[in-house]
């Protein structure tokens, strides 16, 4: 058998190679070739990941991890970050999900972007993204992880602003970049803190040293964990840095599916799971993770309930679902968070791709209220979209979403750091989730048709959607009934600290199931059977106020505008012509003045030049004689 730990590099290298080919020669290649290179490179990396995953499961390595050291980047005074890849159960799951979903979305994009003039540019960016993302999850060293982290941030920026000719898209891209930058800065400071105190950035060694040197709850551990949490919050669009994600929907829909639903936005979840030892050492920060998760999932759930743009509903839903993952991380249910990451990647990618097909066949129509009745016009899209929505709403027993969400709710309830309050938040969120999911389904696909759909999606778009629909259902059965998934992840994470394991899991499952189904029924009642209730509610005085508040994502944008942006711009304006500038202006004036004087000496007259030589000689002689 080929030694698998020597092949890890292929996973990130293949998309990077694809990026290089497309970036250098893309404009000269025919479209078929571009798609072949773009999707093929990710496909290659998917096969490498499948191969790695299979051999990892069939013959688990000692210490439950493979390491491939490619080379040392620099080696200065004991600081020798290595370019090395680390494959343990956590990264196996991550790369499998990323490459499979990534490949399907690339395939879909080949059809979706068919008529776009920036075809090669699109695939180049997408390949660069997949390469960076795989670097991020495979990195053995936090520095390399940070490189991938910044790489995906860059690609997110480039792809949100992909249609850069529209100023709005450029603004959305900048907003995403700047807001996540706030988190990235915290993350970078966290890296400095970790390195200066523990002397390494190699993740496993770092975790070991942290456990040895830092007492639980010590100031340094809390600070380090809080700074990493800052990074995670920015990347994963959690409170208070969630404002960029809804605007990020300005990018092409495959981008929203890949980057802003399935992979990049979950990088924060991965980071916390990867450095879970630090968070265990800082219980206060870990509690904050849970609270942030619970608050985010509720706030975003309410916002999703009132949106009219199909993609914005999905964006708020993504924020809310990542909130679930944070909630799970916060109570120490690491495996449950990763499980939900996986199922979410399947059904959210599915929903986005379905939304993309709806939007493209309605000629760039995003407003749900102008859709309607698509059930008969786009039957395939309708069926798969409903499967995705059912999985998102966690329909009991059948869907993957149910098993992952149920696992989270159960562990939040039973964990020592969880409790009924957080559980109740999660349960309320579940009701909201099924409510907004089926509001979306009923408004879009039922009722009377308001716009005529044109054209059927091609094979390259239908096939990925069908596969994702299958995964959205089947994905749950890796855990139930045999607990394969958590068993596989067990070596990577400590078990959940249970407080009241005795209380029947089955009862809670039934409650969760009832809540989920009742949400769907409520949605049917409010949005399909008697929509006038919804109308009267949202048009009443208080109702319209709440509606507007939720619609604007709880007014965070306005709050930040008043609190941060306006004062900052004001300060910048006030300081524009301050006295410090005079120093630099002084340098400029002096230089220009001397230049004018010196230019005068360059008269072009030989006698003048000879005089210069003579004076120089006299001065030098003078110095020599006098000193």
């Amino acid at each position: 058998m080929i030694a698998m730990n020597d092949m890890l590099w292929i996973m990130p290298a293949a998309p990077f190679a694809g990026f290089l080919v497309l970036a250098l020669a893309g404009s000269r290649l025919p479209r078929k070739w571009i798609a072949a290179v773009g999707a093929g490179s990710v496909g290659l990396s998917m096969f490498a990941a499948l191969f790695a995953g299979c051999s990892f499961m069939s013959a688990p390595p000692g210490m439950h991890a493979y390491v491939q050291v490619l080379r040392t980047w620099i080696d200065v005074a004991g600081f020798s970050p290595k370019i090395a890849f680390y494959l343990d159960p956590l990264s196996v799951i991550m790369v499998l999900v990323m490459t499979v979903v990534g490949f399907l979305i690339h395939l879909y994009s080949a059809g979706f972007m068919r008529d776009d003039e920036g075809y090669a540019r699109f695939f180049a960016y997408m390949n660069l993204f997949v390469g960076s993302m795989l670097t991020l999850v495979l990195a053995e060293d936090l520095l390399l992880l940070y490189l991938g982290w910044e790489g995906v941030g860059l690609c997110s920026y480039l792809l949100i602003g992909f249609w850069y000719k529209d100023e709005v898209n450029g603004y959305a891209a900048r907003k995403a970049f700047v807001v996540t930058r706030v988190g990235d800065t915290a993350f970078a400071i966290g890296l400095f803190l970790l390195y200066s105190n523990l002397g390494t950035l190699q993740i496993q060694e770092l975790m070991y040293r942290a456990g040895q040197q830092w007492a639980p709850g010590s100031v340094l551990a809390v600070a380090a964990a809080a700074l990493l949490l800052g990074g995670a919050v920015g990347k994963s669009a959690q409170l208070p840095l969630q404002t960029w994600l809804p605007d990020a929907m300005a990018g092409p829909t495959p981008v929203s599916a890949l980057i802003h639903a399935a992979t990049m936005v979950t990088a924060g979840v991965y980071l916390i799971a990867r450095t879970h030892v630090l968070f265990t050492l800082a219980p206060a920060v870990q509690a904050a993770v849970a609270v942030i998760g619970a608050a985010t999932l509720l706030l975003a759930g309410f916002s999703a309930l009132v949106q009219s743009d199909l993609k914005r509903v999905l964006a708020y839903s993504t924020i809310s679902q990542i909130g679930y993952m944070f909630l799970a991380l916060g109570v120490g249910a690491w495996s449950a968070a990763i499980f939900h990451f996986m199922t979410h990647a399947f059904f959210k990618a599915l929903l986005f791709l379905g939304a993309g097909m709806v939007i493209i066949s309605l000629h760039e129509e995003h407003n749900m209220f102008k859709m309607g009745g698509l059930r008969t016009q786009l039957p395939l899209v309708y069926r798969t979209f409903v499967i995705g929505a059912l999985s998102l709403s966690a329909l009991p027993l059948l869907t993957a979403g149910f098993y992952s969400k149920d696992l989270i709710l159960w562990e939040v309830w039973s964990s020592k750091s969880g409790g009924p309050l957080l559980w109740a938040a999660g349960l309320a969120g579940a009701l909201l989730t099924s409510l907004y999911s089926f509001r979306m389904v009923f408004i879009t696909f039922f009722g009377e048709a308001k716009t005529k759909a044109g054209g059927k999606p091609g094979m390259s778009m239908s096939v990925p959607v069908v596969i994702l629909a299958v995964l959205s259902v089947a994905g749950g059965f890796v855990e139930v009934p045999v607990h394969f998934f958590t068993g596989f992840l067990a070596p990577a994470f400590p078990p959940v600290q249970s407080a009241n394991k005795a209380a029947g899991e089955i009862i809670l499952q039934i409650i969760a199931g009832i809540v989920s189904v009742s949400g769907i029924v409520l949605a049917w009642f409010l949005f399909l059977r008697s929509p006038h209730y919804d109308k009267t509610l949202s048009q009443s005085g208080f109702g319209s106020l709440v509606h507007r508040l939720w619609f604007a994502g709880w007014g965070f944008d306005r709050l930040y505008d008043v609190l941060i942006i306006k004062p900052f711009l004001w300060a910048a304006k006030v300081n524009r012509d301050d006295f410090i500038d005079l120093i630099y202006l002084g340098v400029v004036w002096t230089s220009a003045g001397i230049n004018r004087f010196l230019t005068f000496t360059q008269s072009g007259k030989v006698r003048w030049y000879v005089t210069g030589v003579a004076i120089g000689a006299i001065v030098i002689l003078g110095i020599v004689v006098l000193l």
Partner: protein, 489 residues
């Protein structure tokens, strides 16, 4: 004189023989390509002779010449630079009317002179080498006889160089009068034995030698000739002045004042410090508002020699390494710069060189490769990382820091940032879009002819070297440590 003495001299003799040979071939058959090919061959053979000579080093051949690894390294550098100048000259002169064959004879003699300077250990060989170089240059500068500016530049250089040679000779005479010897090693020994109070004539002699050398290196205040000469001379000749001519004199300066330890004479160190500071600042300040690229390069060259002088003042092995690396990097960069000018100037029939900044406006949009190369060259001159110039400047600064020359280093930093202004100014000109104009624009050299094969090859090789030296400095550093650094042992 034994056979091994002759072998040791072969790299110096070969260019001389080649010049005679080329001259005789010209008498029978005038063919530009043939002459250029012979010249190239001569330089290649001279370079290979270096390897033949290598096992015999170090060796004193007559009191005049001392061939050692230091000379080995720099002769190699000079031959390589001359090689590139030949490549550039061929394309440049081929596009111009008239006979060009004698130019290569002069070039070979000048190269011969530079090789003599690299191995000189005596005032006589010093002066001979200097004049071999100088006299060939007078005619090379004015080689385009019908060009008004070329003639003006040639005559200016002749008059001023003669003046400076007079200072130099007088300085040598003073040293000889005081010590009774003209051999460097003996001067070093005798000067060390001299008490400071009785060494005034010696110091005066040194001061006058500095005047002579300062002129050739165009250091402030002996710099005023250089912009006029750079502007008037054909572009390949300007390249030769900036590289081989200045390099050879600097190599001699380094050898001479390393043997005669300048740090024993605080006054001399002070003089060099003042000259270095003045050169860095004034060179860069003069270039600020200049609109002629050749003049800008002349001013920038003044500043760059000031930077190398910092390494020279620092002294010690690190300084020799730094100076050698800096010179090599500067050679590559400035050859690239003048190479681009030569290539662009190949257009006109006996016209002026493409040296006005306006002619470069928007070049990036119709000649992207050349503009990219020029950008690279300017980055290297400014010392931006990943280019040869950055590594050179880094080594100079680290050598200066090693000898705690803080004042000089502050000036290096300040003047480099002033310099950044005019380098970046050229780059912005390159990338400014010119509004669509009437077809007249085609006549500007920027939209001129295709690259000649020789010029194009030279530019590609130089570009590769430029980045290679900036990214992988260690091979050249190893070479320098194995060769040039042996000066002080």
């Amino acid at each position: 004189m034994s056979a091994s003495d002759i072998t040791a001299l072969l790299p110096i003799i070969t260019p001389a023989i080649a010049s005679v040979l080329v001259m005789m071939v010209i008498a029978f058959r005038r063919n530009h390509a043939l002459t250029a090919a012979l010249t190239t061959g001569g330089l290649v053979i001279a370079s290979s002779m270096l390897l033949v000579m290598l096992p015999l080093l170090p060796r004193q051949v007559t009191p005049l010449i001392f061939v050692d690894r230091y000379a080995f390294f720099f002769m190699g550098l000079f031959f390589a630079a001359s090689f590139f100048v030949v490549l550039l000259s061929y394309g440049y002169f081929a596009a111009r009317p008239g006979r060009h064959d004698e130019f290569y004879v002069l070039l070979l003699i000048a190269t011969f002179g530079s090789a003599v300077l690299a191995a000189s250990s005596h005032f006589v060989s010093f002066f001979l080498g200097l004049e071999l170089l100088g006299i060939s240059l007078y005619s090379m500068i004015a080689y385009q006889r019908t060009d008004r500016y070329g003639n003006e530049a040639g005559i200016k250089y002749l008059v001023l160089a003669a003046t400076s040679s007079a200072f130099l000779l007088f300085g040598m005479a003073l040293v000889y009068a005081q010590l009774g010897t003209m051999q460097f090693t003996r001067i070093a020994v005798e000067a060390a034995a001299l008490s400071v109070s009785s060494s005034l004539p010696l110091l005066a002699g040194f001061a006058l030698i500095i005047v002579g050398i300062g002129f050739k290196l165009a250091l402030v205040p002996f710099h005023m000739w250089s912009p006029d000469v750079y502007e008037g001379a054909p572009a390949p000749v300007s390249a030769f002045i900036a590289t081989v001519s200045k390099g050879a004199v600097f190599v001699l300066l380094l050898r001479y004042f390393s043997l005669v330890d300048i740090h024993r004479f605080p006054a001399i160190v002070t003089v060099f410090t003042i000259i270095a500071i003045a050169s860095m600042l004034i060179g860069n300040l003069l270039a600020l508002a200049q609109n002629n690229i050749k003049r800008i390069l002349a001013y920038s060259s003044i500043a760059h020699l000031g930077y190398v002088l910092v390494a020279f003042i620092a002294g010690g092995p690190a300084a020799i390494t730094a100076a050698s690396y800096y010179l090599a990097a500067y050679f590559v960069t400035i050859l690239g710069a003048f190479g681009i000018i030569s290539v662009l100037s190949s257009a006109g029939s006996g016209g002026r060189d493409a040296d006005a900044l306006d002619e470069y406006r928007g070049m990036a949009w119709h000649r992207p490769w050349l503009a990219g190369m020029l950008t690279l060259v300017l980055f290297s001159l400014a010392g931006i990382p990943l280019t040869a110039g950055f590594m050179g400047k880094f080594l100079v600064i680290s050598a200066g820091a090693g000898s705690t020359l803080w004042l000089l280093l502050v000036v290096v930093a300040v003047s480099s940032s002033i310099g950044l202004y005019y380098y970046l100014r050229i780059i912005t000109v390159l990338y400014t879009r010119v509004p669509a104009q009437v077809p007249e624009k085609r006549e500007t050299p920027a939209a001129g002819p295709r690259l000649s094969l020789s010029g194009g090859t030279a530019l590609v090789v130089l570009a590769v070297l430029l980045i290679w030296l900036g990214v992988f400095p260690s091979p050249l550093l190893r070479l320098i440590k194995a060769t040039a650094e042996h000066l002080i042992y």
